[in-house]
Symmetry: C2
Subunit: 112 residues, 2 copies
């Protein structure tokens, strides 16, 4: 799988609020599917499907314990997302710089 | 539209290599749909569909020129992506720190 296909899977996996919420929960520590299902008020098949999508994008890894297979967050695909976004930093930074400049100009004219 | 729905649209729009390629092209400057279609060897309906998805996620804006309506990159949704990823920075940083430590340990043992 090349980087392009990886980013497709990662962004696709992140495009659902439940999957982002699962990642936020796992940032606090590993959890079993049952532990994940409870706070989200989701059926086990529904949560299992989301977990498979996240696992397929390498955003989570599963433990080897045959009965519980706890889920853990894997930060590397998120680092890839940050790296992808970072190449456009000059574009949003430039916009924020212009906004800062506008605020300074507005303050200056208020002080006149 | 709240932040959660926005992130759904943004991540969904980014989950296709052609759409990420369009953004990379627009980072060089605004372009019409025709100008975008040429290098990607894509039909106008296909590229128009991708542009609508990007526009719907506010990743691009369209000019007012009735005939050409040039597309321009909007950095703010990408800043939102960077901000989302950044909340997990401690997780991937910790992993890279561990890798650095492993490399130092390996070097030390080679020097013995």
């Amino acid at each position: 799988m090349d980087n392009i296909a990886e980013l497709d899977l990662i962004f696709g996996a992140l495009a659902h609020p439940a999957r982002r919420a699962i990642l936020a929960r796992l940032a606090q520590g590993a959890a079993t599917v049952n532990e994940l299902a409870a706070p989200f008020n989701m059926s086990l098949p529904a949560i299992s499907k989301h977990i498979r999508v996240l696992e397929n994008a390498a955003l989570i890894t599963r433990g080897r314990d045959a009965q519980f297979r706890p889920c853990a967050l894997n930060g590397e695909p998120i680092a890839a997302v940050a790296q992808w976004a970072d190449q456009y930093r000059h574009i949003w930074d430039a916009r924020f710089d212009r906004m800062d400049q506008m605020i300074i100009t507005m303050k200056d004219s208020t002080n006149d």
